[in-house]
């Protein structure tokens, strides 16, 4: 499979937001316009992380996913946020998403994770693992490195889904903290299908991340909205030993 560049769209109070260290959210705009442009730029996948699930259930998000379909969106969509049971996951797939993002809490605290896997098929799941080098088990469910390994051990060795690892400290930054990324990659040797996120905002950092075997995709966040033709230029300027998709 070719390596991918995904877009992470964090949602708060109904808006896409710029997210800084998972703490500060600044409003960027509605999903509709940004998704349209990301598709124009040939993004490989769109990951929607809805952080406003605490106030509204994922139900109202079904309407939103359906409305996205009216925009002639022919880009794979992955939705996460507020999924606590199989029926949530089923609704979201029916509404048009390809995959659902589930938090590590579901895997650690209950059997729901594996129920969803068997119901939808492992390929429809993304396990979200925020890595927080500063605070262990912070409010947002951040894991430090040995935490990460203990969670990974709960997964069957040939698990068919993907794991999205986002570095909380460089969320929204101009570039990731490569010292910590390298430390993480060492302890993730042998894993595969990892999606890296957190401060990936230029072709050089993304190219470097994609060159590791464990990494199948890099998810770009705030950078998407900062420059014109953001993703398109990224794809043009990435010189990796690894091939990426250039859409016609």
């Amino acid at each position: 499979m070719i390596k991918r560049i995904a877009a992470t769209l964090v949602i708060d109070s109904g808006y896409i937001v710029n997210s800084y260290n998972f703490k500060i959210h600044l409003p960027v705009g509605k999903l509709k316009y940004t998704i349209q442009r990301l598709q124009d730029f040939g993004i490989d996948e769109i990951i929607i992380l809805n952080t406003s699930h605490s106030s509204t259930s994922s139900q109202d998000f079904i309407q939103l996913l359906k409305s996205i379909d009216s925009l002639h969106i022919s880009t794979p969509i992955t939705y996460g946020g507020g999924i606590t049971c199989v029926s949530d996951a089923r609704e979201i797939i029916r509404a048009g998403a390809e995959r659902v993002v589930v938090s590590s809490k579901l895997l650690v605290n209950s059997n729901t994770f594996f129920e969803i896997c068997s119901y939808l098929g492992e390929q429809a799941l993304v396990l979200h693992m925020p890595i927080d080098h500063t605070i262990v088990q912070s409010k947002i469910g951040g894991h430090d490195l040995n935490d990460f390994q203990s969670v990974m051990n709960l997964l069957p060795s040939n698990w068919g889904g993907e794991v999205m690892v986002s570095f909380v400290e460089s969320d929204g930054a101009k570039s990731p903290n490569w010292h910590n990324v390298n430390r993480f990659l060492v302890c993730a040797i042998g894993l595969k299908n990892l999606i890296l996120a957190g401060g990936f905002a230029n072709a050089q950092d993304i190219g470097r991340a994609l060159s590791f075997d464990q990494i199948s995709a890099v998810a770009v966040g705030n950078y998407l909205h900062r420059e014109e033709l953001s993703v398109r230029n990224l794809k043009l300027n990435i010189e990796t030993a690894v091939e990426i998709r250039h859409s016609k």
Partner: protein
Amino acid sequence: MKKCLILDYGVGNIASLTTFFREHNYIVSFGNKIEEIENTELLILPGVGSFRTAVENINKSGVATAIQDRHFKQKPIIGICLGFQLLTKESEESPSFPGLNIFNGFTRRLEEFSRIGWDKINFEDYENCPTNDYFYFNHSFGIYELQNFGIKAFAGTSQCCALFIENSTVGVQFHPERSQNAGKEFIIWLEKEIWNLND
């Protein structure tokens, strides 16, 4: 305007398929009645969900023979992802629930456990292929050893079959409705080369 029917078997991303085919000038309907299956110009077997649920619903609505009938009468069918697997004999995902057995092959768990992302498809000795572009795959089961004579293509380095066409029945493991421009051009290619369905 052409007509197409998305077969309702309790599973699949109905919304995105509807939009996708509407954009190709189809009047899209959704159902599981036998006469609907017989009259529509294109039958679509949607793609996301579990093999077992789909087979159960097909049997419950008793449409299996109508589908097989279309195949023998060269009436256009497209099976997308799970829809493609349903066309085979059976699937390792739900062994005791036999498929439609239109394609002589088996669906088994992927050697690579899952294939998520974009890949090119390479045809086996077939000339006027569609544009050589990437398509979106998202599956953990795949079809191997297809004995039928037809147009066959594989995805990247994988052994599982990415596309198989016999008569006017098309099975694709990838999602054209999620493959941006490549998906659009692929449907146009099918209409011209395989189904000669035009507005």
